[in-house]
């Protein structure tokens, strides 16, 4: 029989102080039973002699200091896991909300996970084809990578994420592919978009959803991504599946973290976020990856909206330091109707070099990628210059670069949310665009590839 305490002495925001406790452990999960019989969950944040500081996962409304009872369960927060979770919908704390039966679990896992031994990791080096040229060609997603999408309010990150979830292919993985989707504090509409898109394409059968909507308790959001990652770890490392985890929106998660920190009166770091935000985010993001002795993998695609499109805001900034690159959406491209509006220059996939080239995609991929980046950057500079000085001020070569930059945005990046391009097609479009430039400018590509792949354009030169 668990001890029950009726010694709640303070409730303030998401925090509660329980006195005269005995044998309570740090990090332990607790239950609060209200006078009405309703049960809510909480977790021990600090234990000082006989006083336990507890963080609520749900609203504090209705908690009465005299009538409510607290029990400590002697374990952390756990998620019952099973292969049957595929195709199911759960709330932010892991309870089924799709009217289906309860999950008969094979085991229960602590949602905080255990750090992976770096010596046990297997370096991500296999290409995932997303069918999106700006990603496959230039910022390649690799199995086991954590690659966030930095977006802004009003930008179509949901469509892009759904497109990736729908089109992502791992060669030879067959049906061993699953999606775990965590909605963290997003609106009903946004979450409904994902669910109906998954249903429309049949992807729902290989998807596990955890939904915490904007009107659900903010504090619950601290647990939701960890629920999703725990389910993903089970599917990847016990059931040998390749799991793509999409978490949206990390900014909401960080705000919940800030709320708890502020309630604890901790010394705030930048913009009021606690000093341990980096560590906290890292303990989530680092759960992506591959293991040496396991078949499966976790590829993590967190989505976050940058307040005021500011990349230096603490959330995108700290995320960028942990994740292996980032895909950045641009409002300017969105206005130009470039879809998906991926800004390829500041976007980056750190793991791409190990996953592309001969034997992975195609031998000419790395060189053309570097050349496209360099040429697009130069083209954009030329266009900026033309804005100030007029087109006439540009040298002939710069005019070609400017032309290249426009063509690149319209043909390479802009493909819509429905087109699924193979990597071969993506490379082909790249070569057609590079043919706009004189061959002497293509310094970053080996001669043999230029000879082999560069489209001939004798006709043009004559005219």
């Amino acid at each position: 029989m668990l001890k029950e305490y009726k010694t709640i002495s303070e409730v303030a925001g998401p925090l509660m102080l329980v006195k005269q406790v005995d044998g309570v452990k740090y990090g332990e999960l607790g239950e609060i039973e209200l006078a009405s019989g309703e049960v809510r969950r909480c977790r021990v944040l600090e234990i000082n002699e006989d006083k336990a500081l507890v963080q609520l996962f749900e609203s504090a409304a209705g908690i009465n200091l005299a009538d409510s009872k607290v029990r400590f369960l002697g374990r952390g927060i756990e998620l019952p896991v099973s292969g049957d979770m595929l195709g199911r919908v759960f709330d932010g704390l892991g309870n089924p909300i799709d009217d289906g039966p309860a999950i008969i679990s094979e085991q229960k896992l602590d949602i905080n996970g255990i750090p992976m031994n770096p010596a046990a990791r297997n370096y991500p080096s296999e290409f995932i084809q997303t069918g999106v040229s700006a990603i496959d060609g230039l910022n390649t997603l690799i199995r086991g990578q954590k690659l966030p999408i930095f977006s802004g309010s009003g930008l179509p990150h949901a469509q892009l994420a759904a497109q990736i979830a729908r089109q992502a292919k791992v060669l030879g993985a067959g049906n061993k592919f699953a999606v775990v989707f965590a909605a963290v504090g997003i609106t009903f509409e946004e979450s409904d978009y994902f669910i109906s898109d998954f249903k429309r394409t049949g992807a729902i059968d290989r998807t596990v959803l955890f939904i915490n909507l904007a009107n659900d308790p903010a504090i619950e959001r601290i647990a939701t991504p960890r629920m999703a990652l725990t389910a993903a770890e089970y599917l990847a490392f016990e059931e040998d599946m390749h799991v793509l985890v999409i978490i949206t929106d990390i900014t909401n998660y960080a705000e919940a973290l800030r709320e708890v920190s502020a309630a604890r009166k901790e010394v705030p770091g930048r913009r009021g976020y606690p000093g341990y935000t980096y560590t906290d985010l890292a303990t989530m993001y680092e759960r992506a990856g591959r293991k040496r002795d396991k078949e499966g993998s976790i590829t993590l695609l967190p989505i976050l909206t940058m307040p005021e499109d500011d990349k230096t805001h603490p959330i995108p900034d700290l995320t960028g330091y942990i994740t292996e690159g980032q895909i950045i959406l641009s409002r300017e491209l969105y206005r130009k109707n470039v879809m998906p509006p991926i800004d390829v220059l500041p976007s980056l996939s750190r793991l791409k070099d190990k996953g592309i080239g001969a034997g992975k995609t195609r031998e000419d991929h790395p060189d053309t990628m570097n050349q496209l980046f360099a040429a697009y950057a130069r083209g954009k500079e030329a266009k900026e210059l033309a804005v100030i000085l007029g087109d006439a001020a540009l040298s002939d070569v710069d005019k070609l670069y400017a032309k290249f930059a426009d063509a690149f945005e319209n043909e390479y990046v802009s493909q819509g949310f429905e087109e699924d391009r193979s990597i071969g097609k993506t490379l082909e479009i790249g070569w057609e665009l590079l043919a706009i430039l004189p061959r002497g400018e293509l310094k970053r590509i080996k001669d043999e590839y230029l000879d082999k792949y560069l489209p001939k354009k004798e006709n043009e030169e004559k005219s």
């Binding site: 992976m116 031994n117 010596a119 000093g275 190990k354």
Partner: protein
């Protein structure tokens, strides 16, 4: 020091901070075992009977009433054969051995010896019975890997005459020598010794750094060289390539031993090193790079307190090899994560915060760390010279260099590689900004470069820096009035600067040849690129058309010269130079006609 083991009980748990009472007999910075799991912790504050302990493992499930036992010793590392090729966590637990013991995740309370106690090493004595030895004297050697000869030194505080010395296969805890002290006491000497991580290992004398650490990275060696025994910092926003720069230095720096500390960074980066290094060949020895590398990995998901310890663990190991007379390159990626760990503990200790919540002692702790680098004469009668170069990455939030960690670092380090996200977006790697970066070793090392590479090396460097500086000024003008408004002289300067940037400073870490450039090739390449500038200016004065100069065929060859493999450099570059001279002369004579 108290020898009795004090035992206390936990009264408070808050994240990695545990407070225990009944600890009166423990010393500050003693290592303690916390709770029945035996978690490793370190005392960082004492208030009367109460000790604040930072725990190096996850504390969930701990509560008041559980025992805390002091081990009576400060946090120490084990030093001896078996360090090289290993990957340790922040408190020197071997990660591969842990994986074999408990599987792919790091569970709590694992107890593994840092160094393998069973493995036998071939010990070859170098002194004989009856020889007088003192602290730091080498008594024997062990061939640890095919490139590293591990020197067994007399541990600190021992002086006397060799009473006995053995030869053959021994483990690191077997006695290999007996030393009779002057007071008649005989001490056994093992191959392994211990050293507390927070205390720098002693040396006889510190020397000024006079030799460069050759890294094979053109922008570093030519423009911003770092000295052996020097200190440098690599600050940059995310995506600017800090880690690639650190990895390149770890791969190609001409140090005898590399200690790489992954402090609060990505797990995959350490895996990358583990997988890639064994396959790469050291240009100096032709052996695998792993055979000279020690890795310390405390990734960002591992407990935060051990992150604080990791850089001390790393530098202590580096100092130990330095004492053997080796040159060591130490990379710490990233010191910002270390500072954050410091901040987190400080916050939990409820200390008064300094800037941005960092503790007021941030600057002095950083200085203490970097000051452990240097070129020294080590203890012992022989007077060996060793060096320890430290290069720390800094991850300023939002790329803002005015933040406390960057500023505190810049006050200490002598070389500053400023990484620039604008360059990174243009895929100019390494994205080291040539206008913001500096090396205070240039004057000191200039003589060495002139004597050992080429007499005009520093002269060329000065010209390169001048051209790059002029380019920045000219760009301003171009932005206002367009490139046509510039004089032919300035246009050639611009064109030469572009060539320096693209054909010299840009270096592809993932290209087989380009990843490493010897000093000789650096010189030849620079000379080639500058030849275009010098000859171009002359030709232009003689009336040659500048556009024709820019369009010369040979320029494409100059652009690809960096991909010429080392053994072909002399022949190929001679040919290109000849071609350049011929083509320029042709243009000039055309004009004269």
């Amino acid at each position: 020091m108290s020898n009795k083991l004090s035992e206390g009980t936990i009264v408070k748990v808050s994240g990695p901070l545990v407070i225990a009472e009944g600890m009166r007999d423990a010393d500050m910075f003693d290592v303690v075992r916390v709770s029945k799991h035996g978690l490793i912790g370190e005392i960082i504050e004492m208030y009367g009977d109460k000790a604040s302990i930072q725990v190096y493992e996850e504390t969930a499930g701990l509560g008041p009433g559980e025992p805390v036992v002091s081990t009576g010793a400060p946090l120490s590392v084990e030093l001896g054969p078996g360090l090289i090729e290993q990957m340790f966590d922040g408190i020197q637990r071997p990660l591969e051995a842990m994986r074999e013991q408990v599987g792919s995740n790091i569970t709590r309370g694992i107890n593994v010896n840092p160094l393998n106690r069973e493995k036998k090493w071939e010990f070859k004595p170098v002194v004989k019975k009856g020889v007088r030895v003192t602290t730091g004297d080498i008594i024997g050697t062990v061939q640890e890997t095919s490139v590293i000869e591990h020197k067994i030194m007399i541990p600190n505080g021992i002086e006397g005459t060799i009473e006995a010395i053995y030869e053959g296969e021994y483990t690191i805890v077997d006695t290999v020598a007996k030393v009779k002290k002057d007071n008649g006491q005989v001490v056994d000497v093992q191959m392994m010794q211990k050293w507390p991580v927070r205390k720098g290992r002693p040396y006889k004398e510190k020397l000024p750094p006079d030799y460069p650490l050759i890294t094979g990275q053109r922008v570093i060696d030519t423009l911003f060289p770092i000295a052996k025994g020097g200190v440098g910092a690599v600050p940059g926003p995310f995506g600017s390539g800090k880690t690639v720069v650190q990895h390149q230095l770890a791969k190609w720096a001409d140090a005898d031993i590399v200690v790489y500390i992954g402090c609060g960074e990505r797990g995959n980066e350490m895996t990358d090193v583990l997988i890639e290094f064994p396959e790469l060949k050291d240009p100096k020895t032709g052996e695998s790079l792993m055979k000279r590398t020690v890795l310390i990995a405390n990734t960002s998901d591992m407990p935060v307190a051990a992150r604080e310890a990791s850089i001390y663990t790393g530098i202590t190991i580096a100092e130990y090899f330095r004492d053997m007379g080796y040159s060591i390159a130490l990379m710490a990626d990233s010191t910002s994560r270390w500072a954050e760990a410091l901040r987190e503990m400080s916050g939990r200790l409820e200390e008064m915060p300094g800037e941005e919540g960092y503790p007021a002692y941030l600057g002095s702790r950083l200085a203490q760390f970097y000051e452990r680098a240097g070129r020294v004469v080590s203890l012992g009668t022989e007077g060996r010279e060793g060096s320890l170069t430290a290069i720390g990455a800094v991850s300023p939030p939002g790329g803002d260099l005015s933040e406390p960690v960057t500023q505190a670092t810049l006050r200490i380090v002598k070389v500053f590689f400023a990484l620039d996200s604008a360059l990174a977006y243009r895929r100019h790697f390494p994205a080291i900004n040539w206008l913001q970066s500096y090396s205070l070793y240039v004057d000191r090392l200039g003589k060495w470069f002139n004597e050992n590479v080429a007499r005009d090396f520093m002269e060329l460097r000065t010209d390169v820096m001048r051209i790059l500086q002029e380019e920045a000024e000219l760009e301003e003008i171009v932005r206002l009035v367009g490139v046509d408004a510039l004089s032919p002289t300035d246009r050639i300067t611009l064109e030469a600067a572009k060539s320096i940037r693209e054909d010299y400073l840009h270096q592809n870490a993932f290209h087989d040849v380009d990843t490493y450039t010897s000093l000789h090739k650096q010189y030849r390449l620079l000379k080639l690129i500058m030849a275009f500038y010098y000859k171009g200016q002359k030709a232009q004065q003689a009336g040659a058309d500048i556009n024709s100069l820019f369009d010369m065929d040979v320029r494409e060859k100059i652009g690809r010269a960096k991909y010429v493999s080392e053994e072909k450099v002399n022949d190929d570059f001679d040919a290109i130079e000849k071609e350049l001279t011929a083509q320029v002369e042709a243009l000039v004579s055309k004009e004269v006609e």
